[in-house]
Symmetry: C2
Subunit: 331 residues, 2 copies
């Protein structure tokens, strides 16, 4: 293995100089161009690459973050799109990404205990208990997403469920819809409450009574639920559903010949399960994995450098243009 000393000898300078040249610190004052060149050439000739291990030990940093996926949410494409974004953001900055899965009852991954990372992006089904375990490591961390069991004081990058829900209702209300059905697979009390609040707020804005009876939570079989609610409530003119219901929804539309958007307007909540064509077709509220990943990485970097105290960032969102929402006349 070729070390900094080999390069130093080859270039006829001290190893310190080599280190300095190769690290081009503080706007590179204080090293003659000639020396720089000598060193660079020597390094190239020897095909030198630094040893991360040595640097880590010396600096006490690792230049790595950990993407910690809590609980077993592997089927959810959302987390993979998040993972991808995070990887890209880190890689842009020359940083590495350790991927780890963490189940509440198990041991924390060794890499975390052994300080092999400078920071942790915690995501998935994040509970209070998990958070407090992670706190025990003293590694800076932020939660990417909403806490699963309870609001909790942590550094967090999330999208505000209440706001999101309100945004979608308001959008439809603005287009003259009033009888709006909402389907979600949320089952956690905390999340459901947020949905209800968002719904109420939107209707209040328009001085209307919220249609809480059209709000279905814990939906497991979207096809059937859509069927039921539409046949029970003929007055419905708009539908809000999660993007992973898309194939069930498409089946329904095709089979029943439901006219979109003439008969019913549709908004997709999140877009991580949509393909590109669907993303253009459906009006949707983006899931925001891109923004969350970007913002999360940025914030965690600040945090890990001690440049930031508490933090709670909310990703703002906007309904995307699509072809599934139609303006209707207010009765």
């Amino acid at each position: 293995m070729v070390t900094i000393y080999d390069v130093a000898k080859e270039a006829g300078v001290s190893h310190t100089t080599v280190s300095r040249v190769l690290n081009r610190k503080k706007s590179g004052i204080s090293i003659s161009e000639e020396t720089r060149k000598k060193v660079r050439e020597a390094a190239a000739r020897l095909n030198y690459t630094p040893s991360r291990a040595a640097r880590n030990l010396s600096t006490g940093q690792t230049n790595c973050f950990c993407f910690l996926l809590c609980d077993r949410l592997f089927t959810n494409l959302y987390y993979y799109s998040l993972l991808k974004v995070v990887e890209e953001e880190l890689s842009k900055r020359g940083m590495g990404l350790i991927f780890a899965i963490y189940k509440e009852d198990e041991e924390l991954p060794p890499m975390l205990k052994e300080r092999a990372v400078d920071g942790i992006l915690v995501t998935g089904r994040v509970t209070q208990k998990i958070v407090s375990t992670i706190k025990g490591t003293n590694i800076p961390f932020i939660v990417l997403g909403t806490m699963a069991d309870k609001e909790y004081e942590v550094n967090q990058v999330q999208s505000d469920v209440k706001d999101d829900v309100m945004t979608m209702y308001s959008y439809l209300l603005g287009y003259g819809h009033q009888e709006i059905a909402y389907l979600t697979d949320y089952k956690e009390e905390l999340l459901i409450q947020k949905v209800v609040d968002g719904c109420k707020l939107a209707y209040e804005q328009y001085n209307l009574k919220p249609r809480l009876h059209l709000l279905k939570t814990n939906v497991r079989d979207p096809y059937t639920v859509i069927d039921e609610i539409l046949s029970e409530h003929k007055e419905i003119t708009a539908l809000i559903i999660q993007s992973h219901f898309v194939s069930a929804f498409s089946n329904f539309v095709r089979e029943r010949g439901l006219d979109i958007p003439d008969k019913v307007s549709v908004i997709m909540c999140n877009d991580e399960s949509l393909d590109n064509a669907q993303r253009t077709y459906f009006n949707h509220l983006p899931g925001g994995s891109k923004e969350m990943g970007e913002e999360g990485v940025k914030s965690l970097i600040e945090l890990s450098r001690g440049r930031m105290g508490k933090m709670n960032i909310t990703i703002p969102k906007q309904i995307s243009q699509g072809h599934t929402v139609k303006k209707i006349l207010v009765k």
Copy 2:
């Protein structure tokens, strides 16, 4: 930060002893039980955890592998199920996983160049060019899957496409089917050739002429292709399709009232896009991500310890029981 020296002082021994106790090497001869206990207690009292960075530098190992996903295959669930398996296998062994994305035209991720990992699991769309770049790092690696552009001499864990295809055809032929349609999105010449070979072999086994005209490659829109082929070739009694065609297929069945398996039998090739219910329902040839991940990790460990030379492992597979294949009478 509490170091090995702190523990040593606390326990009243030398740091060397602490290191030895905590590493319990070579069946632990040569350390008195008393000392062991003192050290362990001291370590516990001080809440000592080793520093991975220091250990890495000292041993020249990192206890980390890299999962390198080549090209942009993010929508393919297959790779994520692979990632999950690999993470679990490594974590079992106290090892870490660095996740990196690599696009052929870009620089190799810094973590690889800087020897931050002991080995690399290369997957995704792996080309010869990528392989030779990786070779340049001198880090042991294995390819998880089939080379995309050309057969190539590398350490590899893969499933044999030809065998797989043959297995599926043989299975159906064994049940009396002869007019078997095969749909795949493969577009690479190399892969298509393997499919053709597998098909031919299976028919040969039964002394029949291969139905190559029922073999459709580069399928982008499965719904339409299924429709076309079934209406053009009324004689078809069985269908082999990839599992990510499942939703298009289900749509088709529902809409057209196609009778499965009475009218047409179906085998799914791979199962990574199926949910649990679908996995029981469809006869399928497993994609093998589980076995590939397990085998890959095991082999790479051997490889990285210099205990193995060339290696090319093929994952054997079997059609799973399901409810979509029916025995028919041979004409």
